[in-house]
């Protein structure tokens, strides 16, 4: 079997805080094949961004600490890679797009300087060549009048345009992997669709694999091939996107689907509260025995409270779930 592009095994990330150790990511394993789009979903604080950031070792340390596990990218172990070798990968083989387009660009440098930075460093191009490539790329990401934009400062661009510029920076060196940490969360809905389409098109053109961190199941359905659902620092379900949407197995995933807002036909009088998952996310300070979701789960049994369920595939399919009673609580 050939090695996948990115393979994460038993990743554990801890945060040392004055109040105690936070177990932000606990035994997370997944892999991404070349050209594949993997979505990581889950609510705020479930560890999805921490997982994404730890791939490029971008978490500030201290307080963060890699407590175990392995991250292999194109056959190289990233957790032990030297700082300069890692810098070679960053922005070249692995691109990154952040959530906040308003603050991801340096306010005092022109767009042009920030866009050409990666090409100048990784490709050793001349300034003029880099500029020409960037103009072509900006045209590709549908920024009108790119030559003029290069002379402008970030505040002169709209949010959507800045996020396109960030995507252009991330894709400038044609990376094999793009990590997108909630790339559309800060954008309005029409711009979201455009930016997602753009990411999808670039993926198809360049064969880039994508790790997409999001909490928006609509986004997942639009672009992802495969989805992992995270809860309280663990992967609770890993499935192809169609399988997950057709047959969510973990009660938490079912809850997520049930909690999506739906338009009800006018006149049916069914406009009430949105469905919610009762209870609270557990504190990640003290790892609980048993399933982290058990306190909020209707199907929880004594076994759920004592024994942590492992991520296991069902019926030899690629659909795995970490639950003792998968598929029992149907979404209401």
């Amino acid at each position: 079997m050939t090695e996948p592009l990115l393979r994460i095994d038993q990743l554990r990330v801890r945060f040392d805080t004055p109040e105690g150790v936070v177990h932000a990511v606990e035994d997370v394993s997944f892999q991404v094949d070349a050209g594949e789009t993997l979505a990581i979903v889950g609510e705020s604080g479930c560890g999805k961004s921490v997982t994404a950031l730890s791939i490029l070792r971008l978490l500030p340390s201290p307080p963060s600490r890699l407590a175990g596990g392995s991250i292999r990218f194109q056959g190289r172990e990233l957790t032990t890679l030297g700082e300069s070798a890692l810098r070679q990968l960053r922005g070249d083989r692995i691109g990154m797009v952040f959530q906040e387009p308003m603050t991801s660009l340096n306010p005092v440098l022109t767009i042009g300087r920030q866009l050409t930075e990666g090409l100048l460093r990784h490709r050793k191009l001349t300034r003029a060549d880099a500029r020409a490539q960037i103009i072509a790329l900006l045209e590709r990401v549908q920024i009108p009048d790119p030559a003029r934009r290069l002379e402008q400062y970030p505040h002169e661009l709209s949010g959507g345009m800045r996020q396109r510029a960030m995507i252009a920076i991330a894709m400038a060196c044609k990376p094999s992997l793009l990590i997108a940490d909630e790339p559309t969360t800060a954008l309005d809905v029409t711009i979201q669709a455009q930016v997602l389409d753009l990411i999808g098109e670039l993926r198809d053109e360049m064969g880039t694999a994508i790790v997409l961190v999001t909490h928006d199941l609509g986004v997942v359905g639009d672009v992802a091939d495969r989805v992992i659902v995270m809860y309280a620092g663990r992967v609770v379900e890993d499935a192809a996107v169609d399988d997950l949407f057709d047959n969510p197995l973990h009660p938490y995933t079912q809850g997520l689907f049930a909690a999506r807002p739906h338009l009800t036909p006018a006149g049916t009088g069914r406009r009430g509260r949105l469905t919610e998952i009762l209870g609270m996310v557990p504190s990640l300070r003290s790892p609980v025995a048993g399933c982290a979701f058990a306190p909020r789960c209707a199907a929880a049994t004594a076994r759920c409270r004592s024994e942590t369920p492992l991520l296991q595939s069902r019926d030899a399919s690629s659909h795995s779930v970490a639950c003792h009673h998968p598929g029992q609580q149907q979404a209401s």
Partner: protein, 289 residues
């Protein structure tokens, strides 16, 4: 609606001349430039040798011969005032440059390294616990009176403020998303420092350095006034006022003219600093276009 939009796009707001948008900067610059010119061309502006004694013409009121009158030793107050600008300008500029540079370097170190931060900032806190003027007096008491020593003493007193500012800027910027984004695209430590952190630190530091220049001029004048500053053989606005204060009632011009010059210069620098802050602050200036 459409016409309004079209109008906005077609006719960008007319940009007013820079001096009209920022009149305080313009006025401050003009006064400051005048003082600098005065300092540079002092030998040609002065009507007499500022140190030449003429005991026969002591304490003369202003006249065509002695524009600002003469002091107790018959020296020409106009010529001394003109030469005095040199001390103030040199002190102001060099203290601002030195304190800002040293403070920036120390602030960067403190911002990036926790251990350095812990040690350095306690020293800075200690220095700041002593009033700047007392610290400068104490330092001058240890050394010989000279312009160089005055500058060093004031720099030591002013540096902690810059260190605090620079450290604060670094701590804020270090965690900014654009720095994270730059790191994610392979920028190393020095790339982040020179391309992302320093350019963002320039504006606040430039503003701070103007205030330091103003404060340094006043401190120098105070030091010279109490006799701990530049030696009395070199005319400075501070020691002129000190010498003139005993005869203020008969010859107020001895205190008045250097005092006016000092006030005007400091006022000009402060106006420049306030204006620059508005001009350079991206949140104020850039969005209002």
């Amino acid at each position: 609606m459409t016409t309004a939009l079209a109008l906005e796009e077609d006719t960008p707001p007319r940009r007013r001349a820079a001096w009209r948008r920022h009149p305080t900067v313009a006025i401050g610059l003009i006064i400051l430039a005048a003082v600098c010119v005065m300092a540079i061309v002092a030998p040609w502006l002065a009507t007499l040798d500022p140190t030449a004694l003429s005991p026969a013409k002591r304490l003369r009121p202003p006249s065509p011969e002695f524009w600002f009158g003469t002091d107790m030793m018959g020296r020409d107050v106009w010529s001394r005032t003109v030469y005095g600008a040199r001390v103030s300008v040199i002190t102001g500029l060099s203290v601002a440059a030195l304190a800002t540079t040293i403070g920036l370097v120390l602030g960067l170190l403190a911002g990036f390294d926790r251990t350095v931060d812990a040690v350095l900032m306690r020293i800075m806190d200690g220095l700041m616990a002593i009033p700047a003027i007392l610290l400068a007096i104490a330092l001058m008491a240890l050394t010989r009176a000279s312009l160089g020593n005055v500058i060093i003493a004031i720099v030591i007193a002013e540096v902690p403020r810059v260190v605090r500012l620079a450290r604060g800027i670094v701590l804020t910027l270090r965690d900014a998303t654009f720095v994270e984004a730059a790191t994610a695209s392979g920028t190393g430590f020095f790339g982040v420092l020179f391309r992302h952190i320093l350019p963002n630190a320039v504006a606040p530091l430039v503003v701070q350095s103007t205030y330091i220049a103003a404060s340094a001029m006043i401190t120098e004048a105070i030091l010279s006034f109490i006799g701990a500053g530049v030696p009395s053989s070199t005319p400075s606005w501070g020691n002129m006022m000190a010498e003139g204060r005993t005869v203020f009632q008969v010859a107020p011009q001895l205190v008045l003219f250097p005092g006016l010059c000092l006030s005007a210069t400091v006022l000009a620098i402060n106006m420049l600093g306030d204006g620059l802050r508005d001009m350079l602050d991206p949140r104020l200036a850039r969005r209002v276009k």
